[in-house]
């Protein structure tokens, strides 16, 4: 059941998010170009374009690194959930910055009348058989193509059209693109420029993404193994009023445990509409509301209110020694399972 539908659900939080995002990009590129021009004043047009290539390329790589850290950060701490809220816009802007970087490369060849050299490098380079000397522009083009595909299919229309399963699998290609783009820099800029800063920045970014994913997976695994059957959620007060805490079952399934006053209930974290992250939503007018499209469910039994028919799997909840615990075995969708714990 949807509280209402509109093609693009703009709201104040999304506008602030996008405003900060665009300001950050402008500040990064402006600072990079200013410092670059002061440190090594460009002598001619190709030198200026070269500076632009580096500024936009660095910015796109930093943005891509941040995009890939948001998911594990949000799983490690709910403080990072606001970053997850509008991550798709972050991804689209990353593609646009990368596109300017790619356009600048073409421009660099064009102003020198050497577009044929660029074509030769792309299609007939002997470097395709080498490691050092591999045509890095082909790697960059691959990464840009993946970013374009993801940006072009980022709208909810594509999520519905492709089905959440295919859409999510497609968007996993971002990890492949990141790996290819790390090699784009490692075989390109890192070979041309011997400054120690470049491998530290590149290796550090890659290590940060990898370690955060490992840490998030480790945390979820530990939480799931703490109790062999019932999962500890925490004291009732540790669940913020009208929102949820997400716990992970041993099989990896996420469970959203909501508190609405003195009522506590657990639902699957996957919305019946498009697998939206229900536990990142909140309770509106007594109904658990998905943050993606506003689909709503009763906390006590996971059913959408009439006339809607969607039902979610629920989980048994209990209060033991002042601690809320949840049974990780899902009940059939629509089963009453919420409890009342007395005045909260």
């Amino acid at each position: 059941m949807s509280a209402g539908f509109s093609a693009v659900q703009w709201n104040r939080r999304k506008l602030i998010y996008d405003g900060i995002l665009i300001a950050g990009v402008v500040l990064f590129i402006g600072t990079f170009m200013t410092l670059g021009a002061l440190r090594n004043p460009p002598a001619d047009m190709p030198a200026w374009i070269n500076l632009r290539i580096k500024a936009f390329g660095t910015c796109a790589f930093v943005m891509l690194t941040i995009v890939l850290t948001i998911g594990p950060l949000a799983r490690l701490s709910p403080r990072f959930l606001p970053l997850l809220y509008n991550r798709r816009h972050f991804g689209v802007l990353t593609f646009l910055v990368a596109l300017v970087h790619a356009y600048s490369v073409v421009d660099w060849f064009a102003v020198q009348g050497a577009t044929a050299d660029l074509m030769n490098e792309m299609v007939a380079s002997p470097g395709y058989g080498k490691f050092i000397g591999f045509p890095i522009k082909a790697l960059g083009l691959f990464g840009l193509t993946v970013l374009f595909l993801l940006a072009a299919t980022s709208h909810d229309f594509w999520l519905a059209f492709l089905t959440p399963r295919i859409w999510k699998t497609l968007h996993m290609a971002l990890y492949v693109a990141y790996g290819v783009l790390v090699m784009h820099v490692a075989l390109g800029l890192m070979q041309e420029n011997r400054r120690i800063f470049i491998p530290i920045f590149l290796g550090g970014s890659f290590a940060l993404v990898a370690l955060l994913h490992i840490a998030a997976a480790w945390r979820e695994r530990e939480a799931a193994q703490e109790h062999d059957r019932w999962l500890v959620v925490g004291a009732p007060d540790s669940i913020p009023e009208k929102t949820a805490r997400i716990v992970t079952a041993p099989d990896g399934e996420r469970i959203a445990v909501f508190r609405d006053g003195n009522q506590i209930g657990a639902l699957t974290n996957l919305c019946a509409h498009q697998n939206g992250p229900l536990g990142e939503g909140c309770i509106v007018n007594g109904l658990v509301t998905c943050p993606w499209h506003g689909y709503q469910y009763r906390l006590e039994d996971g059913c959408a209110p009439p006339p809607f028919t969607e039902k979610l799997a629920t989980y048994r909840v209990r209060l033991r020694d002042g601690v809320i615990e949840v049974d990780p075995n899902a009940l059939p969708p629509g089963t009453k399972a919420a409890i009342h714990i007395g005045p909260a």
Binding site: M172, Y175, V182, M183, R194, G203
Partner: protein
Amino acid sequence: MTRGHRTFHRLVWPVLALIVALGFTMALVKRPPPEPPTQSEPAK
């Protein structure tokens, strides 16, 4: 993210990360040596 996606993600991620880490290390090790400094005129 459903269980199937998560399983796929957990299998693919370490393999991809290892390939990229290996590629990055090789690119670092095989970097061409710095240009030797140009010899200045001997002092007279």
